[in-house]
């Protein structure tokens, strides 16, 4: 019933409140419409799923043909000892499902012969062709590994930390110019003077500077300091001649450096504009590219080389009326620009929804596109990223050696149908066998690097174990990357992530 639905929505809003503040209701909707597939309910796998089930993923399917072993129960929170001998996918599904009744979980009993390399490459190809994002995760001893394989992932809402404001002080649009003109700083009473927004102050003093400096912006450190001094001289003085306490002027001075940043399109966004997808718009083109093209048209035809105005300004010392009026100047310009972009969208092809366009324009300066190389490209001798591997191996104790070791233990598995050092008696004798695998790997890819013996010993020591705390670290990391892909918010990594639990360090490589 409608009432039940309203009650359910309200309690879901309460339950998910803390995460809704991060990705919004629209992000949550994407999450609730998503269906993920986990292959192999190892500890790493169930930890990943836990972090997707808790925030309310729509559905999950576990594919696993293994039977639960005593060892499995020992490191996996979602397997209990009375499930030993049962199908692992089924056992894990039950305990994961129990975490959140909003989520639908099911399982398929199917064995994936985990010769990592072989299976990953085959599965990778299928998913690549089907455009389904693939995230490979593994915990091997104290090492965590993730590989993201997605052809193209576009992000509108990247939520950058420390984004620069879009104030247009170097190129004020007409409405802003008029608004600045309406202020007469010299003729103002004290109260108004002390509560004028710093944006206006900087703009006014910029005009003054222009008239004295042949219409050139303050360019270097010296000139910027002089500009700040010019502003400082504008602070009202008391009858005795001492400067009054005008916090808004102090704000203006503090913000000079960033305020004078020229308005321009970042190279990242420029690259996106020049992307192939941007040029050939068809009825199949995803909304992201249609909008990008529309914004590009705007930039060239209406924006004078600039993106649509973002429309937001930071809070600043000012009285309410002055601040709100100024804020609305920016907001209205942003809405105007967005509707011009809208017209371009219409003329290009299709309507992608009003909300989408406003959101797009607001985020135009922060668009991101992530393209991962395929697994075939990573593993192929012709296309292996030799440079990245060799240069990273300059720091012999960095994370790259761990990547090479993971590749090597997979070779070991191919040769011996087992991983090195699983049993105590194997540790010593497997070291030399594993070393042969390392050398053959390096040779095959013509990698002129040195892998220290210590790492070969260490990886034999690991005995393909999966300590829970390392699996849990990976579980948190991987789940959030999956959420980024699903919600299209925040930016996924590209494309190989390594976690070293010994040193508590991580690295990301593009392989």
């Amino acid at each position: 019933s409608k009432r039940t639905m309203a009650v359910t929505k309200a309690s879901k809003d309460q339950k998910y409140d803390r995460q809704l503040r991060l990705w919004g209701d629209h992000g949550q909707e994407e999450l609730e419409n998503a269906h993920v597939c986990l292959i192999n309910s190892t500890a790493s796998g169930t930890e990943i799923l836990k972090n997707l089930v808790l925030p309310g993923i729509g559905a999950f399917t576990i594919v696993d043909g293994h039977k639960v072993s005593g060892q499995d129960v020992g490191n996996n929170f979602f397997l209990s000892n009375n499930s030993i001998g049962r199908n692992r996918a089924q056992a894990a599904t039950e305990l994961l499902q129990e975490l959140n009744t909003d989520v639908s979980g099911n399982f398929v009993e199917e064995v994936c012969v985990f010769n990592y390399e072989h299976t990953c490459l085959r599965l990778g190809s299928v998913l690549w062709n089907a455009n389904i994002p693939f995230l490979v995760c593994r915990t091997y001893g104290l090492v965590g590994y993730m590989r993201l394989v997605v052809k193209e992932h576009t992000v509108i809402e990247s939520h950058p930390d420390n984004a620069l404001e879009d104030l247009r002080l170097d190129q004020p649009f007409a409405e802003l110019k008029n608004h600045i003109q309406s202020y007469d700083l010299e003729g103002m009473g004290k109260k108004n003077h002390s509560h004028t927004p710093w944006i206006i102050i900087v703009a006014k003093y910029l005009e003054k500077w222009f008239s004295e400096h042949n219409f050139q912006f303050p360019k270097n450190y010296k000139e910027k300091e002089a500009f700040k001094q010019l502003i400082r001289q504008g602070i009202l003085k008391s009858e005795k001649g001492t400067p009054e306490d005008e916090e808004n002027f102090e704000e203006a001075i503090k913000n000079v450096n960033t305020a004078l940043n020229p308005t321009k399109i970042s190279s990242g966004v420029d690259d996106i504009f020049n992307g192939e997808q941007c040029n050939d718009i068809t009825s199949q083109t995803p909304a992201f590219w249609v909008m990008t093209r529309a914004v590009r048209e705007f930039v060239h035809n209406d924006g004078g080389g600039n993106l649509p105005v973002r429309g937001s300004i930071p809070d600043m010392i000012a009285d309410s009326e002055k601040f709100i009026t100024l804020q609305n100047i920016y907001r209205e310009k942003a809405m105007q620009d967005a509707s011009v972009v809208s017209k371009h969208v219409e003329s290009l092809l299709q309507s992608v929804g009003k909300v989408c366009e406003t959101l797009f324009c607001k985020n135009a300066a922060f668009l991101r596109v992530v393209r991962c190389r395929s697994l075939v490209e990573e593993y192929s001798v012709e296309t292996v990223n030799k440079d990245a591997i060799t240069s990273c191996m300059d720091s012999a104790d960095g994370e790259m050696v761990l990547y090479l070791m993971l590749r090597s233990v997979d070779r070991f598995y191919q040769q011996h149908s087992r991983y090195p050092g699983v049993y105590n008696y194997q540790v010593e004798e497997d070291i030399s066998k594993l070393k042969l695998c390392v050398n053959s790997l390096l040779q095959e890819y013509s990698l002129n690097v040195n892998v220290k013996d210590d790492y070969i010993h260490e990886f034999c020591r690991y005995g393909a174990s999966e300590p829970h705390t390392v699996a849990s670290f990976l579980g948190g990391s991987a789940a959030q990357e999956a959420i980024k892909i699903i919600t299209r918010q925040f930016v996924p990594f590209n494309n190989t992530f390594i976690y070293n639990a010994m040193s508590q360090t991580t690295a990301t490589f593009q392989l």
């Binding site: 929170f77 105590n424 010993h457 020591r461």
Partner: protein, 462 residues
């Protein structure tokens, strides 16, 4: 040749089977099943090239974790739930958990030991029950308490303490408690009096994990500058010049509610009461409309009133995992612990930064260097109070200042007890000279941020 191979093959087969039993067997007498601790044992029973110099592989080590090692987990929330799971699956059985809160529906998106039916129950109790049921043999002991309810005798019993707190004040208190347990022989720190503190914190997609060896490495107070003070809007903005929706909410919370007392005399604003929040929301919305401010929503209102920090399961999982790995390393000497601070952020890809936070030479908590207070004799006590609260390295909340005058202990100012506050308030306007304080005088300051009084030496400048 064939003859020689057969006995060798046989020998290997027997070895493998015995190995299998040794690896899969484990402690038969503790009711464990075969293979239960396989993943853990590899790090306790095998030598390795990167182990801690003190590490000795031994089959007894697992027994230490299972039977002897005692861990205290502070907090049973986002980090606490993860910590309990991680420790239990790493072989720890004697775990105590302290948490003063009860379960709220908004916890359920990440505090996975709790279910909708548990709302209202103490977190510590429910968390302990869940883990003890899910992980046979694990004996988590819950304490539905504030950390301040316990004294040294309680904390002293633990080998390692790991914190998943959501308050800097609580962290500093815990930090101070462990520092007070340190003993020095002839000025030399007795290592057996050190209880390692592993501390984790998260906020949205950011987090940090650190290892503190009290008396040896940087403590919480050494790095106080890393914790930025909370944003409080200026009163004049709230009262007469609102610009943001947040200003409108703060106006209602701080000015309108005390005036209107909408739910009765003396009834304070309860952020967890939806009716209260609804009242604040409506009036904040009205105020915003008066000033042409948009953006006041119920969610924003609640966020401002409760100072809500966004939170997700994933960040808590990562940070708690890092902390738990450190607990394991500490308890087993398996590897050199994190030295000593890890920062994590997965807004754009995954970013970590690991560095060694340095001890502060004159840290008010751990340096044993007497703290100086320099003021002219004409300075008012109010100025001293402001210094104690505003100084970045001290950041006290409501310090109580006492001094020994004419052989008697005199309270100069105390805020936390209404009657004493009223009695000592006039002292704030008196000068240090008027109060009879002399150069070199010791002032004892008590505050919620530390379990022990901090001694300051007053230096009267001319």
């Amino acid at each position: 040749m064939a003859d020689a191979e057969e006995p060798e093959k046989k020998r290997r087969k027997i070895e493998e089977l015995t190995e299998k039993m040794a690896v899969d067997g484990g402690h038969g007498d503790s009711g464990d099943w075969d293979g239960r601790w396989n993943h853990v044992k590899k790090f306790l029973e095998r030598p390795g090239p990167f182990t801690h110099p003190d590490f000795e592989p031994s089959i007894e080590s697992l027994g230490f974790l299972l039977e002897t090692c005692k861990i205290l987990v502070i907090g049973a929330g986002g980090l606490g739930c993860e910590l309990l799971k991680n420790l239990a699956l790493s072989g720890f059985r004697h775990i105590h958990v302290v948490d003063m809160d009860t379960i709220d529906i908004s916890n359920l998106n990440r505090q996975f030991l709790f279910r909708p039916n548990d709302v209202g129950r103490p977190k510590a109790d429910v968390a302990a029950d869940f883990v003890n049921n899910r992980i046979p043999g694990c004996k988590v002991v819950p304490h539905f308490n504030k950390i301040q309810d316990f004294d040294e005798s309680f904390y002293r019993q633990f080998h390692i303490i790991v914190c998943g707190l959501d308050s800097i004040i609580a962290r500093r208190w815990m930090n101070g408690m462990l520092i007070s347990l340190l003993s020095y022989n002839d000025g030399v720190l007795d290592p057996s009096s050190i209880i390692p503190l592993i501390d984790g914190g998260t906020e949205g997609f950011k987090g940090n994990a650190r290892v503190i060896l009290p008396g040896m490495t940087a403590c919480i107070d050494c790095t106080l500058a890393l914790y930025p003070p909370q944003i409080n809007f200026p009163m004049c903005t709230i009262a007469s010049m609102p610009r943001l929706p947040e200003h409108c909410v703060e106006y209602v919370r701080m000015l309108q509610w005390p005036k209107d007392e909408p739910f009765g005399e003396g009834v304070g604003l309860d952020g967890d009461n939806p009716e209260h929040i609804q009242w604040v929301f409506q009036r904040a919305h009205e105020r915003a409309a008066d000033y042409n401010i948009t953006g006041v929503t119920y969610r924003l209102t609640q966020g401002v009133v409760k100072r809500i920090i966004p939170a997700v399961a994933s960040t808590n999982a990562v940070i708690a995992a890092a902390c738990s790995t450190e607990v394991f390393k500490m308890a087993s000497s398996a590897y050199i612990p994190l030295n000593n601070y890890l920062v994590f952020n997965d807004v754009d890809g995954l970013y970590t930064y690991t560095f060694e936070a340095e001890r502060k030479e004159n840290c008010s908590a751990c340096s044993q260097v007497p703290q100086d207070l320099q003021f002219p004799p004409s300075a008012k006590l109010q100025e001293v109070l402001e210094y104690l609260t505003e100084n970045a390295s001290l950041q006290m909340k409501s310090p109580a200042i006492t001094a020994t005058l004419e052989g008697k202990n005199k309270t100069l100012y105390l805020q936390t007890v209404a009657s004493i506050e009223e009695r000592t308030r006039p002292n704030l306007c008196k000068t240090l000279k008027e109060l009879g304080l002399s150069d070199g005088q010791e002032l004892a300051v008590a505050d919620i941020t530390t379990p022990q009084t901090v001694l300051f030496k007053l230096k009267l400048t001319s």
